[in-house]
Symmetry: C2
Subunit: 591 residues, 2 copies
Amino acid sequence: MPTTNGHVKPGRSEVYSEVQISRLKVSLPLPSVLKSSFDVVDGRKSSAAGNPDEIAKLFPKLFGQPSVFLKAGGSLTKQSLKIGIVLSGGQAPGGHNVICGILDYLQNRAQGSTIYGFRGGPVGIMKCKYVQLTYEFVYPYRNQGGFDMICSGRDKIETPEQFQQARETAKKLDLDGIVVIGGDDSNTNACLLAENFRANGLKTRVIGCPKTIDGDLKCKEVPISFGFDTACKVIHSWKEYYAPRSIFTASRKLATVSFMKGFHSKSFYDMQIYSEMIGNLMVDARSTGKYYHFVRLMGRAASHITLECALQTHPNIAIIGEEVAALKQTLKSITNYITNIICKRADAGYNYGIILIPEGLIDFIPEVQQLLAELNEILSHDVVDQGGAWKKKLRSQSHELFEMLPKAIQEQLLLERDPHGNVQVAKIETEKMLIQMVEVELENRKKEGKYKKDFKGLPHFFGYEGRCGLPSTFDSNYCYALGYGAAALLHSGKTGLISSVGNLGAPVEDWTVGGTALTSLMDVERRHGKFKSVIKKAMVELEGAPFKKFASMRNDWSLKNRYINPGPVQFVGPTSKVINHTLMLELGSQA
Amino acid sequence: MPTTNGHVKPGRSEVYSEVQISRLKVSLPLPSVLKSSFDVVDGRKSSAAGNPDEIAKLFPKLFGQPSVFLKAGGSLTKQSLKIGIVLSGGQAPGGHNVICGILDYLQNRAQGSTIYGFRGGPVGIMKCKYVQLTYEFVYPYRNQGGFDMICSGRDKIETPEQFQQARETAKKLDLDGIVVIGGDDSNTNACLLAENFRANGLKTRVIGCPKTIDGDLKCKEVPISFGFDTACKVIHSWKEYYAPRSIFTASRKLATVSFMKGFHSKSFYDMQIYSEMIGNLMVDARSTGKYYHFVRLMGRAASHITLECALQTHPNIAIIGEEVAALKQTLKSITNYITNIICKRADAGYNYGIILIPEGLIDFIPEVQQLLAELNEILSHDVVDQGGAWKKKLRSQSHELFEMLPKAIQEQLLLERDPHGNVQVAKIETEKMLIQMVEVELENRKKEGKYKKDFKGLPHFFGYEGRCGLPSTFDSNYCYALGYGAAALLHSGKTGLISSVGNLGAPVEDWTVGGTALTSLMDVERRHGKFKSVIKKAMVELEGAPFKKFASMRNDWSLKNRYINPGPVQFVGPTSKVINHTLMLELGSQA
């Protein structure tokens, strides 16, 4: 609680900054449907995102249950509840507000409820490690970043023994429900837990909470009134933006299931903070006139953040992993692409620029995957001799690629391996690798007289410093509604749903609230001869409007400098409500 | 100019973000002395920061001239002027506002004036490359970051030929004055130029403009009414904070000349943006509970930024280069210091933390300097044999140190050399080196049973992405006043002064305005047998209140987590005027 000197001394031993305190004091608005009594209305019977027969077998109790939405009217029981909450996976700004939403719902609608926060993620459920969440305990985390209230973890509840442990915890604490706040894996796990509890006759229900859901999900399951306002056009555009990895498989029909991986772990704020940094680098590049900034952005599985930041800031080059894979590009062709633009810019008088690269770029390059597979195979059996005789075991294409790599990268591949002896792709600093490869290629062109400038590449990685920032006004409100809605779903006896808040372009009071059947998001993957349920990772859709917009503008951006500097996140004043000015402007006109 | 759709399409080809536009529209306040007519009042005859006899010889025309201050009253000529402006050295948020201030002064007080912006730094003066600065041209840069309006450069006007070129430009453009906006080197150059012009009978006067000056300068030269308000206590504290490099030399008397190197190239905004990022990492560390974030911060010559950010955010460890040098610490002792704290934190249940390191750390470690000198000597004559026989030429202490370095650093020292064959210290990623050295030391302790956790160090470098950000409200106002004042000094016929704005803790209208004799800041260094004038670099003063405060609190910070997350820079609302909450709180009470 704020003390007289304006400081908070809660469970957190830290001192709060002025901005943190100002955010703490900001009240959180609710969608109007959550402000009064409501009915929970069932939609149609649901199916699965793919392979419904297999999903039905894996979830016999839950498969087919309808998604629901909340509607004003009715009267809910005032029965008090015992609820457990768990944060699962990587942090995202707003996670704390989901918890605040759950607490406030129970305080307002189910007085006398008891709320437990499981410590350190799902392992807290398994080991029954928890803290009781009171208003006083939770208050200092309102509108604050991070997951540090109860901390998070990446464990999963998978084995029969672990499910047994979870059931014991649920019984011991006499839980009516558990809310799982997390990404696709965590929500898959939430669904398995819901099924397991029901199959074992436990009263404990499970509701998932995504940090963000894209429009498509709601279009299918929740009545959204279209006619988005300007801000909504962003949300709307995401429908086309996010599609599952299916573009790389035969199952194009999955394209409607676009539960967004990118936005599970990344929120508006991150985009804003990364875009701010990129914008600053643009001003720096333009001011000094001599640096190429190579910026690696988070996103191992998909290139959402790179695309989003590109649309927000207009870099000279942005590499989108999904396109690299679709076009089967090589490291050489990517290097040439970058080098070509650098040479053209030099001709136009520009010896500087900004290049965005997704963290997971290497994973998208087929030839690199092939090389890594061969390396892992060779290294597991053979000794790497100084003379290089071992290289003869590489296929010729892989050998050629290996020789093309900068020496430091070669050594990294050979020397730094994980405990299983595998090459550690994650440790490769892609931006540095590309700088070195571009340097070599530019040297070649210099010899040919095709390039005359001096190239200075500066590497950057924007990652951890963004994901724990103070949530923006939008993130704060959205997450609060998700939590409030999740508690409402539990209170009305629901299980196996994911809290769904829609119509996000409208003012908060007009947002829709409901729950989507988790099984409806599922498909199966075959692992070790068995089907396993998964929520597919959402990939950048190359046919979607945002990528198309990017593709249509990138030539212009590459040679002219159409830089945008978004500036720092503002919480007050005219710019505080701007969610995404650029994407909105760019894509709004065609909506 | 803003067009109807709220966008600016000026010389800049970029689109402006909402936040940029909102900043563009903000009007800039002036100190009241600049709002009406004023007299320019001379102070006492000045001397030099050191070796006044030598300075008198180097600046026969300018030496001894008094500093001045502006006082309400009087009436200035309305005579129009021809003025050139140059941006020199690294960018800092607010540079554009200095130019806006100059323009607005001339527009208001010397109508019909002509203003030239030299392109790309001092080379623009030598080659007479310029653009005419009109209100329309300059307007889009108001309150915007970077130096991209006319760009900057690091050239110096040094040789007789170069001074000749400068005189030719001054004559060709019929210049009444030049304003040099830059750091200590640039202002030394401004003083040389002023002397040269006067000695050659040119009418062209020269005024320097620092991006920030610390209190001490004004205390000596400009009447400052003490009784600073809360914000001012920060400024006040800097007096003790910034002292010249003299702490490492015999000339302690230089301690009063604290023209701040740190604040020439770094401003409030940078501190805020770095502190925001560090604060986010703190929340991240606390949330995940498994990372030690090693953050390298800009500051090659001094550790101001590291100290400032430490006071703002309360990291577990911050290494201050000036202390390392004063205590003659070794790389080994620094490694042990960090490792000890990590072990103690592990005992206390914390397997995470935040460690701040100044970019120039290596330059402060005497034994490393010795090793580098020996390496440069050996490498210039000998071939590095694979067997390592060359190492026998190292002194035993240097040999030991070399062997202690991580392999990657060893290779970097041997392989990556500059065109002169010298080891490239600047390329060493200090944060990675320390992570690797701590890893080794922790492995040793594990074997001794003194450490049981798994250590994961994550490297970060916060540099370029901060220095071109949107200037904060303070930076915007301060720089505008500096520019307005510089034009006033030129208009009143002054030369060889540096624009000085003081009483910064008070409301803008009460700020003082004046000019300090550049020669009074000078000392000499002996180079190639000749005396050369220099403005000494300001170092962190180990006897100053800020370092003492840090020193008194760091043990507490190291084991407990007193993290502060300052959040993003706010331009509007209650927190927008917070310059430096923490330092203020910490140090205010003792002022």
